[in-house]
């Protein structure tokens, strides 16, 4: 709720609490009869129901929240107010969605349907109130939260609020009447688009679409409420287009297109939710009551699918890693050494997140390139917010002379993988660092036991291994070694959370988690290429399994030079029974045909996409297992070796660091679901057919 430029300004600090509009008596001492709600009446007999979910920093919809709302509605019917305002007491936002915890362990479709039916009763009751109902939304308004707002007659959006239906990301679609209410309120195509993509829209866009009636800064909330009560807020009227789209024939045609689009994004055998949503609208779009009824059934069916269970698991994996981050640390200034592809992008991301970043390099040209890339990134993700873009660029400071080191709370080294170079840099940098400052390395292949020699305080050295591109890949592997100060490790994890990344703690072992697990996947692809199998076919096998891109495309994206380096390092350090890199591959690397970044590698790349032969043959039955099982095998080895102690962290790392098919819940989760015995047998079979590299790891038995 801050309009201030600098919330530390003393004058602003003294006044900021007066800039909120939460209704009378929110801070009243009289106890509330409800655990999660506080209900008051103001001088004009306007009722305020403020949601302040007990024991949580965010509001979510759970059965008890709805039961209490039901009770509140009863009291309002008995003693009618002039109107009802629903608002959140949480600083972060309105309502984040349903309490996902209640989705866990749901296997009984009928039970789910019964629960949703009860919830619908409350939402319908809210909608049926004959007094004006007004939702005042600040911050995020997602999923079930948006559904509650849609059940109100008016929606007032505070500046900075965001709206969305992210249920598809959990393998579901809205289940509290949102599908019916949104398609009735706004252009049904826009509504479907929102629900199919799960994207959030900003307040301005929400107003343009008609989701909310008005966007106001905090200081005009009261006036907006009065306007709503007086009937002066213009509610959007259904357009001619919307009325045409309500017809069954129109919906049928559009539904075909939507289904085709959805399938292109993700095959509906793996992700049934978008398809189910389109069918729901296609069949019942014109009939409000029917759509609500069928929504419950469709939702219940989806809830018990394996995909949804796995995507809910992914949600909790994300939360788990966020939990590993803990509370935000007192970090204000970060210094990044090395303005190459990774260093520059790390610096750009950290500056975007609000920290001051000094970026060092030996020459100014890489700095200039980093600034250019940062400006382009900010334009893309800044959505035209000129001030935010300007401020982020002001915070990203090219620093040839390294003056920022003395100010830095964290120094992140992101120079090429050369031990001598890194040692020289540490020797020059450490003396300039603040007493408690952390030295982090983005190294992917140099052991920390070697990196730390020469440091006067080896305990301050930690690994922060980012993934490319930094702005889109959530994972950061936080690497420890046996001399690492536990406080430093804790702060490193907290820093990852502070910049909205997910920390995966691991110990300094070759390839850490993701690179190590991906390498056999990539190498098997090279072997298959050597056998004469078409690259498109290999990639298709992986894509059918659910990988976002196949191994050949991935190798080109990462860079063939990097893949070869990592593979050689792993083979050396871990004594893997892997074949050497084929000659043709090393020749390609020598000829600088490195993949996407040079325009050609294994594929030819045009406009950032590989040129694929669409007529390549379909993959055979062995191919997916040949590619995926070695990945699982390595994950089991990682667990056995205790590189990270936790199977969940391995699964989360593979999902958030390499995009491992989320609907499968992660490699180890998939392995357990498929059956340890079956996988071991399959590995033995593949070893017989294709080589020793498929031999099952000793750790499989412990996994069952």
């Amino acid at each position: 709720m801050a309009d201030a430029f600098d919330t530390h300004d003393r004058t602003w600090q003294a006044l900021s609490s007066r800039n909120e509009e939460l209704g009378p008596g929110l801070k009243a001492t009289a106890p509330s009869p409800y655990r999660n709600w506080r209900v008051t009446r103001d001088a004009d007999n306007l009722a305020w129901a403020v949601l302040d979910k007990a024991g949580s920093s965010a509001n979510t919809i759970s059965p008890d929240v709805l039961e209490e709302l039901d009770a509140i509605l009863t009291t309002l019917e008995q003693n009618r107010p002039a109107g009802l305002v629903i608002r959140s007491a949480k600083a972060s936002g309105f309502i984040a969605g349903a309490d996902i915890g209640q989705f866990v362990g749901m296997t009984d479709e009928a039970e789910v349907a019964a629960g949703m039916t009860r919830a619908h009763v409350v939402a319908d009751r809210l909608e049926a109130l004959t007094i004006p109902t007004i939702a005042v939304v600040h911050g995020y308004c997602l999923g079930g939260g948006l559904e509650v707002a849609l059940a109100c007659h008016h929606r007032i959006g505070v500046e900075g609020s965001t709206y969305g239906f992210p249920e598809v990301q959990l393998g579901l679609h809205p289940g509290l009447g949102g599908t019916a209410r949104l398609t009735r309120l706004i252009d049904p195509l826009e509504a479907m688009q929102l629900m199919l993509t799960g994207k959030t829209v900003v307040a301005k866009k929400a107003k343009a679409l008609g989701i909310i009636d008005v966007v106001v800064p905090e200081r005009h909330v009261e006036a907006a409420i009065q306007a709503a009560l007086a009937g002066k807020l213009s509610s959007p009227k259904p357009t001619l287009k919307a009325r045409v789209l309500d017809s069954a024939p129109a919906r049928r045609i559009l539904a075909q297109r939507m289904k085709a689009e959805a399938d292109k994004q993700a095959p509906h055998a793996n992700y049934p939710a978008p398809y189910a949503l389109v069918e729901l609208w296609e069949k019942h779009g014109g009939d409000f009551e029917a759509m609500k009824r069928e929504e419950i059934q469709s939702f219940a069916r989806l809830m018990v699918t394996e995909t949804s269970r796995n995507l809910v698991r992914v949600f909790f994996l994300r939360q788990k890693l966020q939990g590993l981050a803990g509370r935000p640390p007192k970090i204000k200034h970060v210094h990044v050494i090395g303005a190459g592809a990774m260093g520059g992008d790390i610096a750009a991301w950290v500056a975007w997140r609000g920290l001051t970043v000094t970026l060092g390099d030996v020459k100014p040209e890489p700095l200039a390139g980093a600034i250019k890339r940062a400006a382009a990134l900010y334009e893309k993700i800044g959505h035209g917010d000129k001030l935010r873009i300007r401020d982020a660029l002001d915070r990203l400071i090219p620093d040839l002379k390294g003056a920022g080191i003395a100010h830095a709370d964290i120094v992140i080294e992101a120079v090429p993988e050369n031990l001598k170079l890194k040692h020289a840099i540490y020797a020059a940098t450490e003396p300039k660092m603040k007493a408690g400052a952390i030295l982090a390395s983005n190294t992917s292949s140099i052991p920390f036991e070697e990196l730390r020699t020469g440091l006067s305080k080896p305990g301050r050295l930690v690994g922060l291994h980012f993934f490319n591109p930094v702005s889109r890949m959530m994972l950061v592997e936080v690497i420890r070694h046996d001399q690492l100060d536990p406080e430093v490790e804790k702060t490193a994890r907290a820093f990852a959370g502070m910049i909205d990344r997910l920390p995966a703690p691991a110990r300094s072992a070759p390839g850490f988690i993701v690179n190590r697990a991906l390498t056999p996947y990539l190498q098997e692809a090279m072997t298959m290429l050597d056998e004469g199998i078409a690259k498109e076919t290999i990639d298709k096998a992986a894509e059918n399994f659910g990988m976002p891109m196949g191994p050949v495309e991935l190798a080109d994206t990462v860079g063939l030079d990097i893949c070869v380096d990592v593979a050689e390092m792993l083979k050396r350090e871990l004594h893997w029974p892997m074949p050497d890199a084929p000659d043709w591959l090393t020749k390609k690397v020598e000829a600088k045909k490195l993949g996407r970044k040079t325009g050609e590698g294994l594929y030819v790349w045009k406009g950032g996409h590989p040129v694929k032969d669409l007529k390549a043959s379909k993959p055979d039955a062995d191919m997916a297992d040949r590619l995926i099982l070695p990945m699982l095998n390595t994950c089991v080895a990682l667990l056995r070796e205790g590189v990270t102690e936790d199977a969940d962290v391995i699964d989360a790392s593979m999902i958030f660091g390499s995009g491992f098919a989320p609907f499968r819940g992660g490699p180890l989760s998939y392995a357990k679901a498929r059956g340890v015995g079956e996988i071991k047998a399959r590995l033995v079979e593949l070893a017989g057919k294709y080589g020793e590299r498929f031999k099952p790891d000793e750790g499989w038995d412990a996994l069952g």
């Binding site: 430029f5 300004d9 100014p364 700095l367 200039a368 400006a375 300007r390 400071i397 002379k401």
Partner: protein, 436 residues
Amino acid sequence: MSENIESRRQGRPVYIVDGARTPFIKARGKPGPFTPVDLAVQCGRPLLLRQPFAATEFDQVILGCVNAGADEQNPGRVAALRLGCGTETVAFTVAINCGSGMQSIDTAYKYIAAGDSDLILAGGAESLSNAPLILNHQAVDFFAGLNAAKSPLDRARAFANFRTDMLAPVIGLERGLTDPITNLGMGQTAEVLAHIFKISRQQADEYSTESHHRLAKAQQEGWLNDEVEPMFARDGELYDHDDGMRADSSVDKLAKLKPVFERPFGKVTAGNSSQITDGASWVILASEEAVKKHGLKPRAVILDSEWAALDPSIMGLGPVLSSTPLLQRAGMALSDVDVWEINEAFAAQLLACLAAWNDEAFCKDVLGLPGAAGLIDRDKLNVDGGAIALGHPVGATGNRIVLHVVNTLHRLGKKRGIATECIGGGQGGAMLIEAL
């Protein structure tokens, strides 16, 4: 005016602690990538990063700027906020045309000397390439009429008032460089002085060539590396040196140019005038207390300053009128000044200043000196080139020449320097600085 320097120094000593500037980049026909505040931020960031105190420690921020952008009114405050000086630090902008970047230092000097402030960031910034095209009056009336029109019919009527001559913009820069009292362009005032003091075209061209060569040498030798901080634009372009410099400058080449302000007989050309440029500069000023509190190592102390005014048509003599009292009060001769920075607004103008100091009648009648002051040794004057080679971003120049005096005194191991400049509108500013 016959006080001595001691009686002038009523207040506390004021130290110059550090400073930095951007490369000065030549305006090349289209708007440059940086606004005045952008320029100020580009050199301000590295300067503040290397100080042992936080940016919020400044008592004030003062910025000289003549052409403030419409989106950056009071650019001093906008720059101060973008540099992290904090919402609670007073920041303002000063304007006295070419003297603005020195006026910020002088104002800071007075505040600190009087005991009202201890630590001030004083700078100058100008983005001449972004000087606006101004709508002429008829166009402004047209748009105002259009804006006021409510109904479609009214709007149609308003549109009918359009005339094509409304499309002829007024070039703001051109108007800005013309003195409104005499209607003489700045270059024309240099022509006046060239005539009065008999400066030839040849002399002006020779001087200009020397300016380019000196800057080239300074760049080669790295003498500007501690003064100039590279700039990084959003499009990935890197600016790391004063790019107006022509190493191949020669008298023959300059002789080919036609007079640019008064054709066909004038002596002032584009080649022997200062260039139209974007740039910014900052200097950090501190009291004794601030020096102690933050453990600073001051590089110089300001001994004295003076502003003078004279007829706008001969504004080019501003340096002579403003520096001479500094010399008198300090009991110094021209030759006692180790480092002179006299802004090269125009070669002819600068040579006219030198001629004036060597002119007995002028010195007696105008300056009140007993005789001619003498000739300034060229080896002490603008030793690393000047505005003819590196450009004259109007609001920044005064600041740059003070900073460069400090840096040059240190490089040469010398003691005292004077930074001085003429000011459009008929004024001059000067500062006497001693290295520590």
